[in-house]
Symmetry: D2
Subunit: 339 residues, 4 copies
Amino acid sequence: MKTAILGASGYAGGELIKLIDAHPEFDLVYMGAHSHAGGVLGDVHPHLPRRDRPLQPIGSELLQGVELCFLGLPHGASAHLGHGLAEAGVKVVDLGSDFRLDTPERYRTAYGGEHPLPGELGRWRYGLPELFSMAGADRVASPGCYPTAVLLAAAPLVKAGLMSSIGMVADCLSGVSGAGRALKEELLFGAIDEGVRAYGVTTHRHRPEIEMGLDKYVGGGHSITFTPHLVPMQRGILATVTGRASGVAGRYELLDALTAVYVDGPFVEVIDQPPQTRWVVGSNRALVTAYLDDRTDSVIAMCAIDNLLKGAAGQAVQAANLICGLDEGLSLPLAGWMP
Amino acid sequence: MKTAILGASGYAGGELIKLIDAHPEFDLVYMGAHSHAGGVLGDVHPHLPRRDRPLQPIGSELLQGVELCFLGLPHGASAHLGHGLAEAGVKVVDLGSDFRLDTPERYRTAYGGEHPLPGELGRWRYGLPELFSMAGADRVASPGCYPTAVLLAAAPLVKAGLMSSIGMVADCLSGVSGAGRALKEELLFGAIDEGVRAYGVTTHRHRPEIEMGLDKYVGGGHSITFTPHLVPMQRGILATVTGRASGVAGRYELLDALTAVYVDGPFVEVIDQPPQTRWVVGSNRALVTAYLDDRTDSVIAMCAIDNLLKGAAGQAVQAANLICGLDEGLSLPLAGWMP
Amino acid sequence: MKTAILGASGYAGGELIKLIDAHPEFDLVYMGAHSHAGGVLGDVHPHLPRRDRPLQPIGSELLQGVELCFLGLPHGASAHLGHGLAEAGVKVVDLGSDFRLDTPERYRTAYGGEHPLPGELGRWRYGLPELFSMAGADRVASPGCYPTAVLLAAAPLVKAGLMSSIGMVADCLSGVSGAGRALKEELLFGAIDEGVRAYGVTTHRHRPEIEMGLDKYVGGGHSITFTPHLVPMQRGILATVTGRASGVAGRYELLDALTAVYVDGPFVEVIDQPPQTRWVVGSNRALVTAYLDDRTDSVIAMCAIDNLLKGAAGQAVQAANLICGLDEGLSLPLAGWMP
Amino acid sequence: MKTAILGASGYAGGELIKLIDAHPEFDLVYMGAHSHAGGVLGDVHPHLPRRDRPLQPIGSELLQGVELCFLGLPHGASAHLGHGLAEAGVKVVDLGSDFRLDTPERYRTAYGGEHPLPGELGRWRYGLPELFSMAGADRVASPGCYPTAVLLAAAPLVKAGLMSSIGMVADCLSGVSGAGRALKEELLFGAIDEGVRAYGVTTHRHRPEIEMGLDKYVGGGHSITFTPHLVPMQRGILATVTGRASGVAGRYELLDALTAVYVDGPFVEVIDQPPQTRWVVGSNRALVTAYLDDRTDSVIAMCAIDNLLKGAAGQAVQAANLICGLDEGLSLPLAGWMP
């Protein structure tokens, strides 16, 4: 399938190029970029082979014959472009946030304005294949990195009635690549190395997305407290989600509920110890576990992923494989990098 | 005052040496160590001056004329030694965990056995001077690093009735020096760098200590969920504590309640943004803040400290200054290291 | 081909498993380990898939039907084992140091004793395929990580007569995985993070290997000064090699001499800027360059590699591909990890 | 003494503030900054106490009554300002590069243009007190970080005739704070973490400064090859300097020659093992050593310093102490930070 990436110069774009280069069915015919258009791949991704491949402009009219398109664009840049491509019959997987939320109200809460194409909201499949079917979809909104980790840890437990979402707290730790490649003082080595901090406290845009994911998967109206933290490493997200236990007989009831959901898929594994991001970084895998805290009658669920793979490019290719009728795991690494 | 350190070879011991070397009133006359006894300071702390100073054995009978003694020993090693010194009229500040808890029950919960001197429990002042008076004390149990951070963030809010401890979640991030200098595979650079993980989930010994601190400061019987995480940096703790809001009119009510407690002391500062560990590492300061999450009616309180200073050696010297009738801040750095 | 790895638990062993798992012709039928024998893969490499695969004992008699064997064992453990396997008709690639040197004298210089099988020295092909042919070999001694980087940077320039080896200085920087997984105090996070140091000054065992490589490739009797340094990162080696220029008209004469040697191979690329380890880590590639310093009439040649791939497991598989008559690049990644 | 810092917002400026705040004789009355003028200290140095102190504009006419002024300004910004202050009777220590070189020719080589006040070159004392007397100076050009480390390691050996500067190679490793706080893509965490690179190969401006230092200290016309490397840490410089040995009987002859120069001063210590930057970071100390490489008849000299203290602000205060007739070590830390 002739495949394009629009937004090839970011970190997720670089990962997409690697995955599609290795893909037996997807043929990368177009790499579009904004400010780097006219340059070559080596300008932005010196670690990738064939560095003289051209970076081209972004525009739907340029994608003659493309059958599959990945969008990795800043907030607001995908809406019209993605819609146009999808209407023209191209299968589209959008890694951005324009089509993730399901209602104009939710969009307004998260982004503080009106969606440019409110009728499209809800038409895009939320691309978290372990929790939502991709069957019949031709346009996919690939989830955010934090929602992926939080939902994989907590959604099956909430749905099974073992954990209440009331008062649920999701404290998440992310490597710095999650903040993108923008040139900001707060992302200098001298501002990140040897320190941690929370950010976006009470206001991060992934909170409404997590709540939507719970609503879709479980039903009802969920609200959670979400606090992301930046830690001095390049990759990886660890979500620690704590909530009230609800009639849980023992820890293994929690692990069983998780296993029941994930046992058949290739990427999510239930373990009985705290997951480490180092065990998954470089792969499309997720590790999940849960603990029962008798003393406070709480459940502590955890999930570790690589934010650029299972949290972005890997999950996008996973969804693309499915909507193209291919094996879900094509080109997606199971082995991580460590050390 | 003639001053001894027993347990000089650990990270906290090294910090104590630095602080006492710089202290105008404390004169360091004895440095005791277990396995390094017979060696010199440079063997264990090559970054300190006068590296040929001797490391001597540990034993109370050796401390002729010592008036003040800091203990930085492994769990279980302080009880008899500290008791003996205190009974002999030496002022003692114990950085270990033997005298922190207040009842045999609490000790049993945390350590799974009987305290060797149960009658001593409760006789040692819990050395967190911003929350508990040091007046009249001659023996001090210096708090753990996590309890220091969690209590500084949350205790004033709970006491003011603005935050409920029911369902309270304390997710904490620590640099690696908090785990000590032990030679363990999990502490190799290759096991820490570029990764995060939780540990001690539901079982960490600092949880009962946090609960005791709340009970002492607020009254009543508190229980919390506490999950510590290890992050790839040397120093610093960030505590993120989330709990139910209780009739909070606005965020500034939270900040005011914190300010009321801390405004007169030199070390804890209330700020209105997320505290970064880099802003305090190298100093004895703590930065605290709190947010009100309207959507879930929650309070998110945060505190950043240097785990080896305000979380260990610095706080111990602060308490020693107070019990010796000196200025609380003598020799304690207010400026951090950054970058 | 039925393939075994003996020494599967180290870092290079983990990389070998990944590469052979992905290899279309090599079938991994045996993973041997010393102290972890009897356990499973997940005990030592939690980042790899199928973690329940068994780790078996090390012993040549156990390898029924194995056609290709990789040895990743400590110094001294390969000699008899590798010899026995090779004599039994197994193709052997030894990642250790037992067969790298070519004469008993050189071995004595490097290791301070007699080689247990001196007659084998010189029978093993030195597995640096860009500089030495693998044709007809059935036993390969895979080079050390530092010699790989230094020789790729400097050997073509010395051979072309553009750089004198007299007074040549090789200062090299290595990530910590080069030191292996041993439990040593000097490899703790607390001893590595945020610091650099030289080690093995004048005595490192890779120096005689580098000199041998120059002798083999250029002829004559070379001697160099080699100083390795440890830097706080997991992977990567950067070699900076400085020597007297010898009638060099301009920098491009240096780049041309390098290009002439490497232009046809898939892995070594000549660039005209300082190579960064981040551009190659995760791949089997090497980046080389050279500068002419007019002011001192010196040549500065540089090479960046991933010490565990082009400096160990990747290069071993590259050699194995060649001695098995396969495409040199099978299963070897060209794309690096960054970020 | 009334003291000003012009250029208070950079990393070296922050260190100067800390040192002068702790100084018993220097009274910090003015902090000048360019783009941050009008703001407060906490905007740029959130780790320092009394964050509401004002940052004022830079201009010599504003410094009423100032007796001592430190300049920490970008290249080119000190010349007229420093000259004017010095002519007005203010003692000036310039941490920038405008007055370091001694001749217009050397300045042209390094900076590619004419010095605005060529008559001033040579009038400023080169502020490396261990090698050059500060007696009688009232204007000091504080050395660059790399020249400090290279000269401390090598200059005494060259002067003693034990090491030839012909063919001398200085390969240096620096933490990232050496590159300053500028907002550059190459200084993002994502571009620095987990990688190393050389930069400024053959062209770095510190090379002429090192050569001048050797000429001044030893006499004659020295030229060296200098290659700086950036490593993923905040602070510290390690210089590894290799040159021909000249009739050296044994290693201890080298150590003796170093000791003879440094034994009386408080800051430079000769050790007999490879110095680690972690042992000096946070202090004004330097550790030096030297090795004799019999095989190539070379000397390898090494020096570790904190680039912001002994390599910048600390050394500037050391020189200021001396030109003010004070104890050389006032306010300068001897203890490092580690861990």
